[in-house]
Amino acid sequence: MGKLIRFLPLILVIALGVVLYRGLSLNPQDMPSALVGKTMPAFTLKTLNNSEKVVTQADLLGDIVLINVWATWCPTCKYEHPYLVDIAKDPKVKLYGLNYKDERAGAQQWLKNYEDPYVFSIFDEEGTLGLDLGVYGAPETFVIDHHGIIRKRFAGAIDTRVWRREFEPLIAQLIEEKKQGN
């Protein structure tokens, strides 16, 4: 017992070292969203392509929905764009855009140039919906289930690897939930 106590400080230091070492490899940008598990915030905004057409949160209900926050000022959005075009072909999900703090003409041109993967893009010039969603940059992608509950928030670019690792399992789970009717 006496001998064990002598080693206690060493053991404590090693334990502390292990904890701190683990901390080195954690990504501080990797934050859980405060909104996961909450309902999609209410909004009334126009679409990007039609400044007359008003859309609200009700327009997103019923399907498994992806909301992709994008802008023309965001270089990473350009990187992920081809992957989004691919994802849009997947009938399991509906992909909507949230054009965040952008200019209408430039954003419309972007969709003409690079193909429009979105069912429609919500035009959020002031970033009000972005604020309610806790968006702090672009790109970000939210997964909303068929009840309108936010199930995931992903900050950063989507590519094939990220899609397989981060999104596919959740979407499979959501399809299962929808089938079971809860």
Binding site: M31, S33, A34, L35, L131, G134, Y136
Partner: protein
């Protein structure tokens, strides 16, 4: 002497100019002094979600500017400090608070140091109050005395 005072004045001006450049300048007008102080206090208390080691007052990033504007508008609407903090936490999570709330998740953070100090005090008390080892037990038994005698005689 005159040269020196000019030098000092220039120095002071250049210093103040530097600090003005270093942190963002907003031109918010406040109706009263209290609101202004509350704005300053809250923007120091809230953390910028993008540039994680800066508060809203320090950061130049667009999101920090947006959140300062939101903070200003919430203050103008007459919201209480706690309501404003709740507003930010609802959207950006506990992360935006530089002083985290007391909850199950932060018990270790809040009470850990106090517990460690108490533990240290306890250890010190135990060590100090431990009775000195009895001299009698240190003395050799008759058998051992005999053995020692034999050993020393061997020489």
């Amino acid at each position: 002497m005159r040269l020196l005072s000019i030098f000092i004045v220039t120095l002071i001006f250049s210093l103040s100019a530097n600090t003005a450049l270093a942190s963002p300048v907003d031109t918010y007008e406040f109706n009263d002094e209290v609101t202004k102080i509350r704005f300053q206090a809250l923007s120091k208390e809230l953390r910028c979600p993008k540039c994680q080691n800066q508060n809203l007052a320090d950061s130049n990033s667009p999101i920090a500017a947006d959140l300062r504007r939101e903070l200003y508008e919430l203050l103008q609407q007459g919201k209480a400090d706690s309501e404003i903090v709740d507003f930010m936490v609802d959207r950006y999570g506990e992360f935006v608070l530089y002083r985290p709330r007391v909850s199950e998740l932060t018990y270790v953070l809040w009470f850990g140091p106090a517990v460690l100090i108490l533990l240290g005090v306890f250890v010190v008390i135990v060590v100090v109050r431990r009775k000195p080892v009895d001299k009698k037990t240190l003395a050799l038994s008759a058998e051992q005395q005999e053995k020692l005698k034999n050993l020393t005689n061997d020489k």
